[in-house]
Amino acid sequence: MVPELGHFSLILAFCLCVILGTLPLIGASTGNRLWIGLARPLTAGVFVFLTISLLILGYSFVTDDFSVRFVAQHSNSLLPLQYKITAVWGGHEGSFLFWTWMLGGWMLAVSIFSKAMPDDFVARVLGVMGIIGAGYTLFMIATSNPFDRVLPLSPMDGADLNSALQDFGFIIHPPSLYMGYVGFSVVFAFAIAALLSGRLDSAWARWSRPWANTAWAILTIGIALGSWWAYYELGWGGWWAWDPVENPPMINWLLGTALIHSLAVTEKRGVFKSWTVLLAIMAFASSLLGTFITRSGLLTSVHAFASDPTRGVYILGFLGFVVGGSLLLFALRAPLMKSEFGFAAISREVFLLINNILLVVASAAILLGTLYPMVYQAMSGGELISVGPPFFNLIFVPLMAILVVFLAMGSISRWKKTSAQYLIQQLGIVAAASIGLGVILPLVLTTEFSIGATIATSLGLWIVLGIVQDIRVKIANKESTLAGLKSLAVSYIGMQIAHLGFATILLGASLTSIYSIEKSVLLQAGEQMDLGDYHFEFNGTVPVTGPNYIADRATFRVFEDGEFMREMYPEKRLYTQSGSPSTEMAIDAGFWRDLFITLGEPRESGAWSMTIYVKPFVRWVWLGAILMAMGAVVAVLDKRYRRLKVRTLTKANAQSGAKQGDEYQPVST
């Protein structure tokens, strides 16, 4: 009975979404105040019913209701409670419900934190999100109902959650990734609302920016968590594999990055309007495409959900409808968006344009590499190929290097017009210092010359020293350094934190790729091995028992430069219900390097196979992501947004009052 209530409230949420996706939109275009006013209460209703639905699914998991097919497939009575709850997003149906609930959450947030915006605009934003919500809920009801029952012969116990998912990373990675992903539908809805109302001005960009930054920050964290989780759970010592399902969030992230930069130009200078709208549409489309790729069963991957083709067809249809509709609207309204091209060949606008081109090209190349195997298969009559890291690295690494070169120039240059002389004067010394240190530092620290390390270090320093130089110039005429630092705008500080984060990722990613070492060996208890500056002593394994698994736990004594440092305990687990083995890595994390031990399997002689890694700088990858997300959040906190919001409130009120008369006229476009 309870699961049916969940299903019922999902259907109610769908009905409310349909109303939300129609009446407020019609109301906004005809000026019907009553219908405009429906948007916020309907949004609250959608959120409430989605929440009920999600809670009931969670309840079915916690109470071990194995008559629900989804619960029987992804849980087990012995599963620890925290995984029973999070098993809600452990499979296709539940994770989609969770995803839709996230959309509901963002909608609710928009309806609450939009007091400063005119009501008809909010109604349009929520209406567009309502249409998206209707699409998602219908998808669930029609093809993937998480409340489907297995009756009358319900299984006695469940099949258990995939053992690779029974980990802390699974508790935090999907929620943050989904939240960031879905957050871009807010920016999309803002763009569509602006197109519908024909009000594509810098106020629109200013309203969108905090949402875009927030979604981007959460997506950054979500991707970084996924990478961190893969690193410590999958046990191959890597943190990014260009897996076909890792790529869509990356594409989305790159487009999102382009979008937050382009929004800055639109807000500050009123140019790139149509481009910004197009980016918002593309970013959202890429999130739908990601959904399609993961859930259509077209790909084999760590993330792919086993599924049936009707789902793929539905999502593709919805993707076509949403993107096609948006682009049609865009084409109809584009002539209204007149941008003044008031900027010179060397100006911040141009550098941000270059930023956008590079990011879009990078995302297009990744998309190409991700879809190419499918296209190839279709064209060649079933021949299979795979596109792996060699391709993606070949394309992505140089593009990012070029991006970095322009990054420092863009953030130090001025809007409208910057003289080449000024740039050379400011950045000449930065360039000299970063190249000089880039050559010297790796050489001195490792006594070996590596062209990759030299380039990476130079580029990283180019950003960092560029930031220092920029701040130095900005506070030069203040009485003290502290007073100068205090005078910097909060959003400017946010930007520089994010750029510092980017430099950190760049350094971490390249240096760890260049300097990591690993060795696979077969060791008997008591045997030892050396790797880099470290010495590892294998002291054998002991059997241990967990709540739903049994395991062999190995003990290693680790010595650094001959001195005892610590013990490490990698495990080889066997989950008893599913019979699937799983490797638990032992990691000694550090700012400068990680030590990483993964167990293979025992031989008849009692020896174990194992791989030991020393990975310098690997933490910097995630540290950089945290800095980037922090930077975006700091930028959102800028007082400027709140102050301007109040000002636009009065202006917008005056405007909508004045417009009132117009809007009763027949609409002609």
């Binding site: 995939n162 091209f341 299979l384 391709f391």
Partner: protein, 153 residues
């Protein structure tokens, strides 16, 4: 032409050139970096060039896994139930590698043997990877007899 139009045109040309160069380079990069996929039967027929990096897929033949006692070397037979292919790997097999189940291997053919650089086991026990399934289907079609029931997922 008005100056701002000219500027707009310059920018559009700039973007278009950049995009086409990028796409051209990407396609060129693709042509050099894709890994073709072969089934054990195709390898037996000599379709793969020696030394070229490819992927193969099939089932791990029951009882075929032989581990060396003094090194990490491991040998197993990947089969599509029509032809067998001996795979040699110097490394640690993934958690989900098991006899009688699907496997995808990256590596190169060397004198009729497959030298693996990476072994990928499928991730979910209820789910057969696209590649393995394709290999099975192809072999089954080639045999053209209803013996596929035993290897259903």
């Amino acid at each position: 032409m008005k100056p701002h139009r000219r500027k707009k045109l310059t920018i559009i040309l700039f973007i278009a050139t950049g995009l086409s160069v990028a796409i051209g380079l990407s396609l060129y990069a693709l042509s050099n970096t894709i890994d073709l996929f072969f089934t054990p039967s195709q390898i037996a027929a000599g379709e793969a060039t020696n030394g070229q990096r490819i992927r193969i897929g099939g089932m791990v033949k029951e009882g075929s896994v032989v581990r060396a006692e003094d090194s990490l070397n491991v040998e197993f037979i990947a089969t599509d139930y029509t032809h067998d292919l001996v795979v040699r790997y110097d490394g640690i097999l993934p958690d989900l590698f098991r006899e009688g189940q699907g496997v995808v291997v990256e590596g190169a053919v060397d004198n009729g043997m497959f030298i693996a650089s990476r072994v990928l086991a499928k991730h979910d026990e209820n789910y057969m990877s696209v590649e393995v399934k394709a290999a099975m289907d192809a072999a089954e079609a080639a045999r053209a007899m209803p013996a596929g029931a035993s290897n259903g997922s």
